[in-house]
Each structure stands twice: as C-alpha cells, then as structure tokens.
C-alpha cells in the first residue's frame, strides 16, 4: 500500500518509548512502530465496538451448547464423515 509522509508531533517521553522499542529490535524503525500502534488502536476500537454491540443479552451455556450441536450436526459432522470415507 502506498505510504503518505506526515509530520507528527510527539512528546519527548513518547519518542523515548518508541526509540526504546526500536533499539530493542522490536520494530525496525520509528515509522513501523507508529504504524503498529495505530493498527493496534484500530483493532482495539473495533473489538470494543463488537463487544459493545454484543453486550446484551447474555448467552447461557445451554444456548451455546445447542448452537454448537446444531452446527456440528448440520455442517461439520458430514464433512468429517466425507473426509473419512475418502
């Protein structure tokens, strides 16, 4: 994916933390570290929104069990059977 160059202002402490990770070899460059932080922030936001959207109602063990049973019976057990008969 093509990259854009932007100017980012960071505090001394933020830059020190990024450089620490680069010096430890966790990231090859400051840019890579910042890209990874942005990617993680995006992921956390999406997971947070998914969890918020599925906060209620709660699922009981019986409900989860029944759905798993149905899925196994209708899709995956036939797949296993077919695989074993080959």
């Amino acid at each position: 994916m093509p990259m854009q160059t932007v100017q980012v202002r960071l505090t001394e402490e933020q830059l020190r933390l990024i450089d620490e990770k680069v010096n430890e070899g966790i990231y090859p460059s400051r840019s890579e570290a910042i890209r990874d932080y942005v990617r993680k922030a995006e992921a956390l936001e999406l997971f947070g929104r998914f969890f918020e959207a599925t906060r209620k109602p709660a699922f009981t063990e019986e409900e989860l069990d029944r759905a798993r049973e149905e899925l196994w019976r209708e899709k995956y057990a036939p797949r296993l059977k077919k695989q074993k008969s080959r």
Binding site: R39, K40, L46, R55, E63, L71, W72, Y76
Partner: protein, 145 residues
C-alpha cells in the same frame, strides 16, 4: 504468542462478561495474536443470528466482518486442525472436538473458554498436556499479569 478464543469467551456469558474485553486488550497490547477458527466463526454467526434482533444482528455481523478484514485475528481452518480431530474426539464430545483440535496446534499457546462441562472440568482432559493450555479469561489475565 497465539491465543485461541472459544465462542464462550467471545460472546457475553452470564458471569464476568467484561473479561473478554480485558483479555483482548491484554493480547493486542502485548503484540500477541488472537485466533479463532472457521468453526468458531460459524458458531459466532449462528449465535448472533439466533439471539439478536435484525438491527443488532446487522451491526454485530458488520463489525465482525470489519475485524476479519483488518487481519488482526488469525483464522485457523478445518484443513489445519483436522489432523488432530481423532485425538480430540477421544477427549471431548464430537461437537467440541474441532475446538480442542485447533488448541492442539503447535503454535497455539492458550485456549480461552468459559465452558466448564466440556473443557475446564472435563475429567478426560485432566492430566493431559492439552489441559495446561485451557484457561478461563480470568485465569489468563492472572497468569499473564
């Protein structure tokens, strides 16, 4: 580090629904990778379809799609974990075998689940190497604190 999420650790249970968020946060901050399987994704979709209203369903499934398209969640497929199915079938009921089989993959460090009956308190699993990988989200958070 790769952490496999069972459906019960991704959907809100009656107890401690907030722990799934803390576990995901810990994993992503640590640079570890959350993992699901095609089986668990199918289950998530099925449970969401069954439980939610049309509007809630649309929002939840759209967000799930966005998460998947971001590539922040590794997906193990049937072909990868099927070689472990026979061993898993000896230890858990048939319908739970695809989950245990995926946890048996060499690159999976933990399986997070809240399923007591078939995983956490399953007597056949006690004392096996696999049982050590199986944690509740709370145990995982305590162990990796």
């Amino acid at each position: 580090m790769k952490i496999l999420f069972d459906t019960s650790a991704l959907l809100p249970g009656l107890r401690y629904p907030e722990l799934r968020e803390k576990a995901i946060g810990r994993i992503i901050h640590a640079g570890a990778l959350p993992v699901v399987t095609d089986y668990i994704l199918d289950e998530l979709r099925l449970n969401i379809q069954k439980k939610y209203t049309a509007e809630e369903k649309a929002v939840a499934l759209e967000l799930l799609l966005q998460i998947l398209s971001m590539g922040v969640l590794e997906i193990k497929t049937w072909d990868e974990y099927a070689p472990h199915l026979d061993e898993a079938l000896e230890l858990v009921p048939e319908k739970d075998a695809p989950v245990l089989a995926a946890a048996m993959l060499v690159d999976i460090d933990y399986l997070l689940t809240t399923d007591k009956k078939h995983f956490l308190e399953n007597k056949k699993l006690q004392g096996t190497a696999w049982r050590k990988k199986i944690k509740t989200p709370r145990e995982f958070l305590e162990e990796t604190a």
